[in-house]
Symmetry: C2
Subunit: 285 residues, 2 copies
DNA sequence: TAAAAATACTCCATAGGTATTTTAT
DNA sequence: ATAAAATACCTATGGAGTATTTTTA
């Protein structure tokens, strides 16, 4: 269209004139109507040619931009990192890190998403997250993602305030062997039930399940109401609501691992730095 | 990504597994980073693969929609017709046609653009119009577009109200041979000057130019001020402002052709119908 | 008749298939 | 040991080039 001549256009495109003729004929045949009218003066565009240019130019532009973004990403120059975290817990590691990271990589945008472990895993699987700061539940991800332990923390027992054991100074896991356990639903906190099960087995008993809940709040409510018990990582120690007693377990083998999951594939420098900062902060705390 | 296995994906895509492996390797090499991690369990997508899908899906969608629109157009099923017209004149032909057209093709959207002849030609060249309802200026388009005469109308002389000739009952072109002519600029009304020149030559003289203007209003103003003259198509007969006298020329060979220009290429049925309606209306008037 | 596009014909690159090997669990 | 991906090797199609013919102003 710009040259008005297949010969000139072919020269500009570095192909021979017959080649361009054939390419044009192929498109015209596929479309079912001519794109140019030919004459001894050259070629003149039809209305269809104008429409083709009008509608395809933005598509090609979008493709080029997308491809450029992809190659940049592939070469480790990514413009954003999306991190999922568990509001109640990870803020402890994450908050101080954000500022440090911004200093090292001011041009990389950091997105933080406060999500339940279940949501984090789902987001990782959809590709909506690059990193997930997840708890013990990370083990559930199996080999779907790269894992790295960030910190190992203690375990607390959740008891109704009026529970006999709540009077004691310390508590060990085996003392809970006859209690009824309540766990969050698998969809909300995948692997929590399994983790409790494994802890109890190490303590020599098998837990007795009396119910599933949808949230931490709900768990507390039912424990208070039904005199049941549960186990939690100890970052929740300060959050006991009225009617609930939280007690650190004395067992040395009872722990909870803070895990960082990341998308498979090459690790971009910016992402590597972020992970390093998080790990250092976690180790220090 | 959906199958989690090159074998299954290859089966779904109706190609062999080695073919898919090679295609994947080609893209990975071009990108510079792997899209999948391979194992004896199948393949698992990297973050890059998620990004690729995320960014390319809308591009492919846009391409498919654009191509569908183009093939529809190529097969004569166009969803719109864009018509440029000269407000002062073409409304006469166009207004009654719009309603009739809507009855025949209720699904085809009609866009009407009030433009000067110069703008119309430019829009046609850019592909922004499908049809242009243009005056004598259409002849200037040469062979760039398909032409069709719609109506042949008379010519009027433009005189200052106090001009000696303005007193007469009729006027012929040859009586203007000693007058000074004013024409709109070539950019605004291409070919107007040439048309007047040819008319005068038929009447046996060569016009004397005394100026160029930017618009019809401007032309009237300068004619009134400088006692100059000009020629116009007779659809402007009723529009004489104060201080200006418009008189129909008696010469039978002085006429002005109303021309319809259309984009090159196949004529869609809807467009053909529209042109037919315009031609019929013009003939009747 | 001259400029431009279309065709004829040839060649080679590449995409695809089959058979086989390598790898990882 | 088995399932899955990678490789080796071969074939055929299609895209590109050169030389030539056809077309039209």
């Amino acid at each position: 269209m710009e040259e008005g001549s297949l010969n000139r256009a072919a020269a500009r495109l570095r192909v021979s004139q017959p080649t361009l003729t054939r390419q044009l004929q192929a498109i015209e045949q596929e479309l079912g109507a001519p794109l140019f009218e030919r004459g001894s003066h050259g070629v003149l565009p039809t209305g269809l040619a104008h429409h083709l240019r009008e509608s395809m130019t933005p598509v090609i532009g979008a493709y080029d931009r997308a491809w450029a973004e992809l190659t940049a990403h592939a070469h480790g120059r990514q413009s954003q990192i999306r991190v999922g975290y568990l509001g109640l817990s990870a803020a402890r590691f994450l908050t101080p890190v954000v500022g440090q990271f911004r200093e090292i990589h001011p041009d990389v945008r950091l997105w933080l998403f406060d999500q339940t472990p279940g949501e984090q895993l789902q987001a990782l699987r959809k590709g909506d997250l690059d990193l997930a700061l997840i708890g013990q539940e990370g083990a559930m991800a199996g080999d779907d993602f790269y894992q790295q332990r960030v910190a190992r923390i203690g375990v607390i027992a959740v008891l109704a305030a009026g529970h006999p054991l709540a009077e004691k100074d310390t508590i060990s896991l085996s003392e809970l062997s006859t209690e009824g356990f309540i766990v969050p639903a698998e969809s909300a906190v995948p692997g929590r039930k399994l983790w409790i099960q494994q802890l109890c087995r190490k303590a020599g008993f098998s837990p007795q399940w009396v119910g599933e809940t949808d949230s931490v709040t709900d768990t507390f409510a039912r424990i208070a109401a039904e005199q049941a018990v549960s186990l939690l990582p100890d970052y929740l120690l300060q959050t006991a609501p009225p009617g609930i007693t939280l007690m650190r377990l004395s067992d040395r083998c009872a722990f909870w691992d803070f895990t960082l999951l990341r998308q498979r594939g090459r690790l971009a420098p910016a992402c590597r730095d972020l992970i390093r900062l998080i790990a250092e902060t976690a180790k220090a705390s």
